[in-house]
């Protein structure tokens, strides 16, 4: 599946889950800031991605879990280097470069963009293909 095909399907999922116009769903739009998603929408988006692309998403695979509660990972409102390392391992589809320059916890939501979702799907599909051809 090409990048454009994935983007088109992801756009459909987000339009449906967040009641948006298609034009709002640009690759760099942030899910929580620009598109108005709330935390509970993540579950809805995950279910809709599973239906649209035919794969299963494990708990914590798409969106981080258990990081903000751990004092080793978050101190004084900032994600620690170890926290960022763990996030990178858990979420290879997310680009942390900009966040790392100012790793305030409140900025964490802004790293989830439409393009993040597209990369997540592409990684999942590639992994599936790799498994199928192995």
């Amino acid at each position: 599946m090409t990048h454009e095909e994935i983007l088109g399907k992801v756009r459909g999922v987000l339009v449906d889950a967040l009641a948006l116009d298609e034009d709002d769903v640009t690759p760099d739009a942030t899910l929580f800031g620009d598109l108005g998603a709330e935390s509970i929408d993540i579950l809805d988006i995950q279910f809709k991605l599973e239906q649209a692309f035919g794969f299963k998403i494990a708990q914590g695979e798409f969106f981080p879990e258990g990081v903000s509660q751990d004092p080793e990972f978050v101190r004084e409102g900032k994600v620690t280097p170890k926290g960022i390392q763990v996030l990178r391992q858990k979420l290879p589809h997310v680009d942390f470069a900009d966040f790392e320059r100012d790793p305030q916890m409140r900025r964490l939501a802004d790293i989830f963009t439409v393009d993040t979702v597209v990369r997540f799907v592409a990684n999942k599909l590639n992994a599936g293909e790799a498994k199928a051809t192995a």
């Binding site: 935390s39 509970i40 993540i42 809805d44 239906q51 708990q59």
Partner: protein, 176 residues
Amino acid sequence: MRWLWLDRIVELIPRQRLVAIKHVSLAEEHLHDHFASELSPPGGSEPLPPMPVMPACFIVEGTAQAAGILIGHAEGFREKVILAKVSKAELDLDAVPGDTLRYTATIQQMDAVGAAASGLVEILSAHDPARPPQTLARIDLVFSHLDNNLAGESFPEENFVFGESFRTLLRTSGVA
């Protein structure tokens, strides 16, 4: 008044589908405070007396209860199943006193974190049993298993979701 918007469960296929009915009664207090928006017939000049109708939010709640019971039943009512989101609610008709509503809830997806379910609400004719059911609403819902919430919050151990009213409904329906 009890916060229960179903009268009887008539079918339960575990992890798949639950069908329940509710009779809309003029004895229900809220009907006397909620009326159809169209008070005059098209082209008519004389306003009609207000027609009491069942509020749409209670129809959505009934669908959520039908789907919530189905999802809770899947894990023996150990999970705290909470309505997280009404993804879609399209209602085409009003439900009036004397109507029987049939709720059909179907699980679309379910995992450790929650579930997605769809609901179909139909009106069964009280006057003509041979008349096909009329579709009143199509409703899509997302549920969260509260103890597996994404925020990692903790909640009391007791399952406060499926309380006495739900247990009574299950018992009188022959489900538990």
